[in-house]
Symmetry: C2
Amino acid sequence: MTADHLSTTLQALADPTRRAILARLALGEATVTELAEPFDMSFPAVSKHLKVLERAGLIEQGREAQFRPRRLRPEPLRDVAGWLESYRRFWEQNLDRLDVYLKELQQAEKTGDDKGETK
Amino acid sequence: MTADHLSTTLQALADPTRRAILARLALGEATVTELAEPFDMSFPAVSKHLKVLERAGLIEQGREAQFRPRRLRPEPLRDVAGWLESYRRFWEQNLDRLDVYLKELQQAEKTGDDKGETK
């Protein structure tokens, strides 16, 4: 693991095949053969992706079974989520603004509907 | 923006200088000169990082001012957070297990403290 493990993690996640491998492992551990199957990829190509994920600490090999199935390690994902947390207020602010806009639209619509009515 | 914008975003974030630029922009918009200052980097080097962030939609240029300051765009970060959300149960499970372990430790300690006492 490098000093900048967050960069290593983000780099490992920046590939759709590697994210699909993680999604598969979220369902339970799997051997390299099982992981290779849905991707129509060669064993060495999958192994290369697995090495990147392993270096980032996103997966680990079980020791019990003969085929050493891989399993998910969530800790680096938690670290990414932790880093993102300080930016949450920015997208929530934007959603708040959208919310205000939608409420204004609804209000305008309602005022339109109510035209002429007195309550 | 490529079809796989999540990979583009993660790739853009996988660099400590680019994350530092985002952290600076989280404090408010800034010109390229202002962004270059703390990094002791050349203007072209910073511009290259800004281009990567801009391609990922993580920053945008203001149109008002002469120096077109950059500002943060949080939407791609929200998408990363959304992707991560389906993995949250994994790290929270792990924390739950740690919690159970700590409670067991405390219980064992308490039992030790209470030794001989009857309440």
